[in-house]
């Protein structure tokens, strides 16, 4: 079995004059929940379309589940929830799942059992015979989620899955993603809700102007990226270079010293050093860097525009 559910090398996509993807190289290990983050227009949806075979790259190569992106056999193992989920709204919820189940090649017998089970999973059992044109945005998002999971896919691509959902719906999405990870599936998640990504993802990639700027493991985010605010007197700028063994950056503004350290483990050493330099330390406050801060640092505040 391939180690990676998704592998891309130098993906480039050009629409006329516009370069949507510049040089996208990405590796998504199997069994992970992977967040794909970036500002609007960064190329996230284009990248997803290429992975699904909806669009062809201008250059580069994408491999999904060991096959070329868009391969029909690979699509049998993929579930996809588009950001703006549109479908045959003249069908009822149950009919839509039956249709998609048949397109997945599922036999009629098992499908008859799966459809009610998946409607139940997303809380739409009371609306099974209602036409989709009568559904609210949240209900459409739920049926979209059900159809993305119907085939027990090895890889699930979710484009803004919590868009249009209330807090109960968002909780449902989180629980479903967790259950899919426990089942061994890979989840590729594109979301603007960074708090959701922070809770659900194992790893994230930051994308801007059509290329990946950085990939980070989120499990280590709390430990790996720490900002410490220290209030101290009798401290001068000359002491700052001596902090380099423990701090990746140090900034002094009056009595306030801001450090970036790799872990809370180094704080006793930092304090001993500052006291040895003659400083009077009144306050030490470690602050965890949120994914949002990390996002803004990596992507920048211009939003990539």
């Amino acid at each position: 079995m391939q180690q990676f559910a998704i592998q891309t090398r130098g993906l480039r996509k050009v629409f006329g004059e516009k370069v949507a993807l510049r040089n996208l190289s990405l590796e998504v290990p199997r069994g992970e929940v992977f967040g794909f983050l970036g500002p609007n227009g960064a190329g996230k949806t284009t990248a997803m379309k290429i992975l699904l075979g909806l669009a062809a790259p201008t250059e580069g190569r994408a491999v999904v589940l060991g096959r070329a992106a868009g391969d029909v056999a690979a699509r049998r193992q993929i579930g996809f929830l588009p950001e703006h989920f549109r479908f045959y709204d003249w069908l009822t919820a149950a009919e839509l799942l039956q249709l998609y189940g048949r397109l997945y090649g599922m036999p009629a017998g098992p499908l008859r059992q799966r459809v009610p089970a998946f409607l139940d999973l997303v809380g739409l059992t009371p609306h099974r015979d209602q036409r989709l044109r009568e559904f609210s945005k949240g209900m459409l998002q739920r049926i979209g989620l059900a159809q993305a999971l119907l085939n027990d896919p090895e890889l699930i691509l979710l484009d803004e899955p919590t868009s249009g959902l209330d807090p109960v719906g968002r909780r449902l999405v989180r629980d479903i993603i967790k259950a899919q990870r426990e089942r061994g599936a890979t989840v590729f998640l594109n979301s603007h809700l960074l708090s959701e990504v922070e809770i659900t993802c194992d790893r994230v990639a930051f994308i801007k102007h059509g290329e990946v700027l950085e990939t980070r493991e989120l499990r280590g985010l709390a430990e790996g990226a720490l900002q410490v605010a220290i209030r101290a007197r009798k401290l001068t700028g000359e002491s700052l270079p001596g902090l380099s063994p423990w701090a990746s950056s140090a900034r002094l503004e009056g009595e306030r010293l801001t450090l970036e350290v790799s872990s809370t483990d180094v704080l006793p050493e930092v304090l001993r050093y500052l006291v040895a330099q003659g400083a009077d330390v009144y306050e030490v406050i470690p602050q965890r860097i949120s994914l949002e801060e990390l996002f803004l640092r990596i992507i920048g505040t211009d939003g990539g525009l």
């Binding site: 379309k49 699904l52 075979g53 909806l54 669009a55 062809a56 029909v72 056999a73 699509r75 049998r76 993929i78 996809f80 588009p82 703006h84 989920f85 549109r86 479908f87 045959y88 003249w90 069908l91 249709l99 998609y100 048949r102 397109l103 997945y104 090649g105 979209g144 159809q147």
Partner: protein
């Protein structure tokens, strides 16, 4: 398998959106009106002694009915199929289907099969209705049923004309928006239509240059040629001798032109399948 599922979806969509039932109901209304008009015409004609003229008149009414059916079928074909690809691509509906394990060509072929089923049903009802009513009423009043000369062959040619319009619409649907698609398909049919008239008039006035203009128009879009050939196959030769009009074929499209039209529509479908399989969605 995917193609058959998509054919079923296409048929079901037309039925669920009431397009199919309304088309059939409108067709039934058309047939009722045709039968009424035919009934009164026959009643008045039957009292005259010249049965040959009466038969010629009924034959013209029959061809008028078939001409109207041909026009309705062409318009119906374009209208029901113009949005199927353009609309689903524009709205993104196609994405949920195209990411399922079904080849793109199966999606398009399935839709095509669904529309072919619908237009076959429509033509069978309308051509069968017009011909059957004419035969039954003329047999009652004139004691000799009037039928198209080669009904099956003529119907097949009208069916081919609708297939040509369908395939052209499917092809344009892979590249243009719904409205542009419909305008383009009907515009092409308009060129064929006026080209056909120019050719007929040219043949009537013995102007070979006008005939050639019509032939060039038919090469661009051979739909009208198929109708003209259908007229030739279905019209009584006695009535044809009376003059020129939409129910006569002064300049008869050759078998080669019919073969060209068949190749044209096959190529259009092939190109539509290719384009749809390779375009971004």
């Amino acid at each position: 398998m995917g193609a058959w599922i998509m054919a079923g979806v296409t048929f079901r969509e037309a039925a669920r959106k009431k397009i199919l039932w309304l088309a059939l109901a409108a067709g039934a209304g058309f047939l009722a009106l045709f039968a009424t008009g035919l009934y009164f015409n026959l009643k008045d004609l039957a009292v005259r002694p010249n049965h040959l003229m009466a038969r010629a008149g009924i034959n013209s009414l029959l061809m008028l009915g078939l001409y109207a059916v041909d026009g309705l079928a062409v318009a119906m074909t374009v209208m029901i199929s113009a949005d199927t690809l353009s609309g689903e691509i524009a709205s993104g509906t196609i994405q949920a289907v195209a990411t399922k394990p079904v080849a793109r060509w199966e999606v398009l072929l399935g839709k095509w099969l669904g529309f072919v089923g619908m237009l076959t049903l429509y033509l069978a009802m309308m051509v069968g209705g017009v011909s059957g009513l004419t035969y039954a009423l003329s047999a009652h009043f004139l004691r000799a049923g009037v039928t198209p000369r080669h009904l099956l062959l003529g119907t097949c040619l009208i069916w081919l004309e609708c297939l040509l319009m369908l395939n052209l619409t499917m092809l344009c649907g892979t590249a243009f928006s719904t409205l542009t698609n419909a305008v383009l398909a009907l515009g092409m049919h308009g060129i064929a239509f006026i080209g056909g008239w120019v050719e007929q008039a040219g043949a009537f006035t013995h102007s070979p240059r006008a005939v050639n203009v019509g032939i060039v128009a038919s090469v661009l879009m051979p739909s009208e040629s198929l109708w003209r050939r259908a007229v030739y196959e279905m019209q009584s030769p006695v009535v044809s001798a009376f003059g020129f009009g939409p129910f006569n074929a002064e300049s008869i499209p050759s078998g080669l032109m019919v073969a060209y039209a068949a190749a044209y529509l096959t190529f259009a479908l092939g190109l539509a399948l290719h384009r749809f399989a390779h375009r971004d969605l």
